[in-house]
């Protein structure tokens, strides 16, 4: 933990203006990812995983606004930099893969050209060499007959192939950080494994830090070195994977692990977490946003959360953690 992290997010808060009021989508989110490390961000739908990624990438919806925090990529604070500065590192230093690869690619541009667009922008590739380099990248992500596939449109490819193209685009400029936002959603299980292996292999080759956003705890357990658990826009727990599964300390993490389906258990034994995410437009949200669903709630819980330091090994944002 001596080297500077590849990406350090500190105290990130994001608010969305909506017709129903201001939604405090993220509050004081902090995490760091080291060079070569795979970090998983897990949490249920609406917990702010994707919003975190979008905020860091600077591609939040116009209604969303970063209200506090910094995101240090090397020496550059992505949240304070100008739009041009951010656009210059996006795709070059930090890249992103999205869910639903079929809609994430431009439907009326050949995949070869879409890869070439990124190469021309970031990789200092001469215009004449770009198509050839695009074919090389397609080969690198395991697409058979890449020269012919470069002239294909996304609608002519399967979902798995589109995701491979997406990976080729993201890794075209050999970024130091890759954010993969549910990269295997909508793909079948065998393809999921292949895509995850591919991301892992390429990340190892480049020495890239990977942030892997998922709601699939089992997948996170297999792939990640460390896990950040999010709930309702808060980071509730951060720990190395093995440690988190062996000794979950936050009650929410424990419930989440208990709620993970496994092959041995049948449907009736499957636990579910009681309650739902609180309405983030409320002005009377408790300091701990899990408090209203928490079986271990106590009086301390209505006091401000224990301030979490940025990166130590096992951090839990709870007054009454499991031991």
């Amino acid at each position: 933990m001596t080297a500077a992290p590849a990406l350090l997010v500190e105290d990130l808060s994001v608010a969305f203006r909506t017709r129903g009021g201001v939604v405090q989508a993220l509050e004081h989110v902090s995490f760091a990812v080291q060079k070569g490390e795979t970090l998983a961000i897990v949490g249920e739908s609406g917990s702010g995983k994707s919003v975190t990624a979008y905020a860091v990438m600077g591609i939040l919806d116009p209604a969303g606004r970063v209200t506090a925090g910094r995101a240090m990529l090397g020496g550059l604070d992505l949240l304070a930099a100008s739009a041009d500065q951010v656009a210059a590192v996006r795709g070059r230093e930090i890249a992103m893969i999205f869910q639903n690869p079929r809609t994430a690619l431009n439907p009326i541009r050949t995949v070869g050209k879409q890869i070439a667009d990124v190469l021309l922008r970031h990789a200092n590739v001469p215009r004449r060499e770009a198509p050839g380099r695009a074919v090389d990248l397609l080969r690198a992500v395991g697409i058979t007959d890449p020269a012919r596939r470069a002239d294909a449109y996304p609608f002519e490819m399967s979902g798995g192939m589109c995701q491979r193209v997406m990976i080729a685009i993201a890794l075209a400029a050999r970024p130091s950080v890759l954010i993969a936002d549910e990269p295997t959603t909508g793909l079948d299980v065998t393809t999921q494994a292949v895509i995850m292996d591919l991301i892992g292999d390429l990340a190892r080759d480049i020495g890239m830090a990977t942030i892997f956003i998922t709601h699939d705890l089992a997948l996170a357990a297999q792939r990640a070195d460390r896990i950040v658990v999010m709930h309702a826009g808060h980071v509730v727990e951060t720990a190395p994977t093995a440690e988190l599964f062996a000794r979950p300390r936050h009650p929410y993490t424990a419930e989440l692990i208990a709620a993970t389906p496994d092959a041995a258990a049948n449907l009736s034994e499957l636990a579910s977490i009681p309650g739902a995410l609180p309405d983030l437009r409320r002005s009377d949200l408790p300091p701990c946003r899990y408090a209203e669903r928490c079986p271990r709630r106590q009086t301390d819980c209505d006091v401000a959360l224990p301030a979490a330091p940025a990166i130590p090994e096992h951090v839990v944002a709870c007054w009454n953690p499991l031991s």
């Binding site: 990438m57 591609i59 919806d61 116009p62 951010v86 656009a87 210059a88 590192v89 996006r90 795709g91 070059r92 890249a95 992103m96 999205f98 639903n100 809609t103 994430a104 690619l105 431009n106 439907p107 009326i108 541009r109 667009d117 990124v118 922008r121 970031h122 449109y153 609608f155 997406m166 685009i169 993201a170």
Partner: protein
């Protein structure tokens, strides 16, 4: 691509047959008796009957239709009852005038509407977005004859920048030799700069009038379709890849947003071509719209029939062209043919 074009072309044949039948029936269903009109108010019933027989109007409808189709196959659209001129020649002379005006009007409106729509969509809620809304509302609320008259008043009468609104050329200019029938193109082809400038001056005000009117649907469609595309997943991807904002907006977003704009364009074009009769009246334009209206008032069915047929054929051709354009822009539409 070529087989697709041939298939689309073949698909227009049934529409054309339908058009021929409908125009025939429609003009026969018009109120008013052409024979009585042609014979004049003082004519005796016998004279009217005689004229009816000479026009072939006493024959049963199917027989009339067969005659009509045979004439049509020979390129004969009949003759006007009021002027005695062959309709085909008249339409051939007047159609280029209308088409030139309409095309230029469309170019003017696109040159304004498309950038306006894009700017409004990329900066929603900004001053340019509001300006876009005001311009489109004004453009569609002002009737063309009113805009036309205002422009004539300001630019001809007050400022004297524009020539007198007296048709395609001033009284002292002579038209270029007919090649395409479009004065701008013909004068350029023959290298006649003076005539080119003269006809451009005459075209400017009516084209701007039409352009202002056509602005609204195009600008609105551009804005709406750009907004939809800009919030799509692949634009988010393009942004996340750090592509330059010009590339994102033009190469990624606009090319995708163009499809509904082109559809609108086709509708606006055919609508303008038929509906610019008011502009033609204001600017004394020898176009096809004023020709058709005069014939309609006179119950002169041959020109009306010819006009409706021409318009329908143009419309079919236009839709064909738009289909082709779709195929060029969107590879997905090439597949399903």
């Amino acid at each position: 691509m070529l087989t697709l074009m041939l298939k689309r072309l073949a698909m227009t044949i049934p529409s054309l047959i339908g058009v021929v039948i409908v125009t025939f029936l429609l003009t026969r269903a018009l109120p008013g008796d052409p024979a009585a009109y042609f014979a004049g108010p003082a004519a005796s019933p016998e004279a009217i009957e005689q004229i009816r027989a000479s026009l072939g109007l006493d024959q049963p409808l199917p027989v009339q239709f067969v005659h009509y189709v045979i004439d049509l196959a020979h390129g004969d659209l009949g003759s006007s009852l009021t002027t005695g001129q062959p309709v085909a020649a008249e339409i051939a002379a007047r159609l280029p005038a209308s088409a030139e005006l309409t095309l230029l009007g469309l170019i003017v409106s696109m040159a304004i509407a498309v950038p306006l729509g894009i700017l409004a969509a990329t900066r929603p809620g900004s001053a340019i977005d509001h300006a876009c809304r005001i311009v489109t509302t004004a453009g569609v609320s002002l009737p063309v004859f009113f805009t036309g008259l205002i422009l004539v008043y300001v630019f001809y009468y007050l400022l004297g920048w524009a020539p007198a609104p007296l048709g395609r050329l001033g009284i002292f200019d002579s038209p270029p030799p007919t090649i395409t029938g479009f004065y701008l193109i013909d004068s350029l082809l023959t290298g006649d700069g003076t005539t080119f400038m003269a006809s451009l001056k005459q075209l400017a005000l009516p084209a701007i009038t039409l352009g202002l009117f056509a602005l609204a649907p195009i600008a609105r469609m551009t804005r709406a379709s750009m907004l939809a595309v800009l919030s799509s997943d692949f634009v988010r991807t393009a942004r996340a890849c750090g592509l330059a904002s010009y590339t994102v907006v033009v190469t990624y977003a606009f090319r995708n947003a163009m499809l509904p704009v082109i559809t609108t364009l086709g509708m606006v074009f055919s609508f303008l071509l038929g509906a610019n009769v008011l502009v033609e009246k204001v600017f004394a334009w020898p176009g096809i719209g004023s020709f058709a209206v005069e014939a309609l008032i006179a119950s002169d069915f041959a020109p009306v029939q010819g006009f409706v047929l021409t318009m329908a054929v143009l419309y079919v051709a236009l839709n064909l062209a738009i289909d082709m354009l779709y195929g060029l822009i969107d590879p997905r539409t090439r597949m399903d043919a």
